[in-house]
Amino acid sequence: MSVLRRTLDVQAPLALRLALALGLLTLLLVLSFVVTMAFGAVDVPLGVTASIVAQRLGLPIGAAASDVHWSVISHVRLPRALTAALVGAALALAGATMQGVFRNPLADPGIIGVSAGGALGAVIAIHFGLRSLHYLATPALAFLGALGAVMLVYLLAAARGVDPLMTMILAGVAVQAFIGAVISAALTLTADVNAMREIVFWLTGSLGARSWTHVQLILPFIVIGSLLLLCFGRDLNLMALGEDTARSMGVDVRRVRLIMLTLAALITAVAVAVSGIIGFVGLVVPHMVRLVVGPDHRLVLPTSLLTGAVLLTWADFGSRLLLRPQELRVGLITAFFGAPFFLYLLYRQRRAGTIL
């Protein structure tokens, strides 16, 4: 909201602002990647880290690394960092999308029940011991649960919809409350302390022990889903002027809304499936981004995506290192920093009277 932003808005063409923002953020992401990956149980020199990452991603540059360094970076930290970046990107983009579609600053990726559904799926996998059958059992059930919950919310909203958006939010609240009750019931009824711990842990999110398989599973969904979502920035701008105005300018509001919600739900479901519930990224990142680039969704969507990736990369770094050798849940870190920041934003917004 600075003078800088206003000047930029008026003077600089969109393409220039976009290139500038994305360039800086990409650089930041790459740096964050290498720096956060260098530290851990074994500290690897930055240069070695960078060359292992480059080689692992197919660029034959840099020096040869020791077996231990190679194994740690290439098999443990790189897939984990990639998962963190992808999940952060997906959550932040989905959050920005939801806030735009619902025109509600409190909207987050879970607003239509995705996270709650994912949690239910994971709880089922843990409670019935499917988790030990295969390491992908929990993600698979979480994904199905997330999609199931969204479909339920859609059906509820479509069944009676004077104002489909409001109905959808209310249906989302109801579905979340119901699933919350089921999870509480599972927690109280289970005598297996282990299962209980697993459930509580899943609900606070973690990126620990994510392998290349996890990356391969989520990469196509998140990349394709995100690219498609990025096509709808201008539609979201127009929709901010109200449904009638947007339609009078040629936007098929209902269709765009359905597509965007579906894509946002999909990438959130995928993210939740591999990470558990990581709060506040989807809620706060779009607000942070708007502070700098302004409200234009053509900028907000892609910059949210990259900022989310950077932020979760660092949050996961903190989760690995803050309480070594114990691992702090990454969801706790995002909540710990996200909640106060969000309060600050609310305070600001009360004065400004708008979503930033």
């Binding site: 740690v72 443990v76 030990s132 282990n194 711990r197 398989t213």
Partner: protein, 331 residues
């Protein structure tokens, strides 16, 4: 309950914060029974048998693992394998044991464990950095962690842990096949069998089998399929949890205890500092006034490392319980 040690470890983690809060509580005068007899000689040097490697073994999770040579850098991720390993091989061949292994509350090999260079939880990076040539895990270790280790080329063997005394021998043999210490394993197994036979012969003379209930601070007990159940049977008693519960562990209400009317109650000793007060309160609960165990002063505690172990040290648990049930028969 005792079918899984992992449960116990989880309890610890869950109560870690609580423990800090309760740090001012009374310290339990840990009435450790005599255990010398129970512990087999631990660190006899393993025979230098490097024959038969490389070996390919199908582990408890169905993975075929090839061990190229006699392992010299072994990492153990479970308390059971800590105990087996430290009794089977020289400590110099063990790279890391679990972080609880050096705690005498939990293991019967805490002294040997202190000589091992590293302790691990389950952080894959840390394990990879130790460059192990064999990692022993259990079915309850996070499969995602194990997958990462396998992806990084670390030979991971999942040991299927067990719920009866008889299977202990199978596990010792399994671990020995991985480490190439079969001769030592047979010695351990023979010693264990001999001690078990003696205890069982002693309790066989008993006319009545006391009815025993295990009870924890969480209000849970051990049922059918738990190691506790097997221990009680071998010690000449009847585990009431077998009839009161459907599975290895579950909750039992105070009312149910009154109804079951056990002759002996064995309470939980997972962290003496933490639950001494609880045990005191429980033993003096007015509801238990007419329960046989209370009337006859037979509410006891057995060291956790003896009851919860899944290695050959389980014999110590059988011995402890047998002495409590039949003090006149078991010296």
């Amino acid at each position: 309950m005792y079918s899984s040690r992992r449960t116990r470890r989880s309890l610890i983690s869950l109560l870690l914060g609580l423990a800090a809060l309760l740090a001012g509580c009374a310290v339990q005068p840990a009435a450790a029974p005599e255990t010398k007899e129970a512990a087999p000689a631990a660190t006899a040097a393993a025979p230098a048998d490097s024959q038969g490697f490389p070996r390919t073994i199908t582990d408890g999770s169905g993975h075929a693992v090839t061990i190229a040579h006699k392992p010299q850098r072994i990492v153990s991720l479970t308390l059971a394998t800590d105990e087996i390993l430290l009794s089977l091989v020289d400590t110099t061949r063990v790279r890391a044991v679990t972080y609880l292994a050096a705690d005498s509350l939990w293991t019967n090999v805490s002294e040997q464990a202190k000589q091992v260079a590293h302790t691990v939880q389950s952080d894959p990076e840390q394990i990879i950095a130790l460059e192990p040539d064999l990692v022993l895990a259990a079915t309850y270790n996070d499969p995602a962690h194990l997958k990462l280790l396998r992806d990084a080329g670390v030979p991971v063997v999942v040991v299927s842990l067990f719920d009866s005394v008889a299977q202990v021998a199978d596990n010792i043999r399994f671990v020995a096949r991985l480490t190439g210490d079969e001769a030592r394993a047979e010695e351990l197994i023979a010693a264990m069998a001999k001690r078990l036979a003696r205890i069982e012969a002693q309790v066989a003379k008993a006319e009545v089998k006391p009815r025993v209930l295990f009870y924890t601070a969480f209000g849970s007990s051990a049922g059918p399929g738990s190691t506790f159940s097997d221990i009680v049977r071998r010690a000449g008693g009847v585990n009431l949890g077998d009839e009161a519960l459907d599975g290895p562990f579950g909750e039992i209400s105070l009312e149910k205890i009154v109804e079951l009317n056990p002759d002996v109650i064995i309470t939980d000793e997972f962290a003496p500092e933490d639950n001494a007060e609880w045990r005191e309160t429980f033993a003096n609960h007015p509801a238990l006034a007419n329960v046989n165990a209370k009337r006859n002063g037979r509410i006891h505690t057995v060291p956790a490392r003896h009851l919860s172990t899944l290695s050959h040290y389980i014999v110590a648990g059988v011995y402890d319980v047998a002495r409590l049930l039949h003090p006149e028969l078991v010296p």
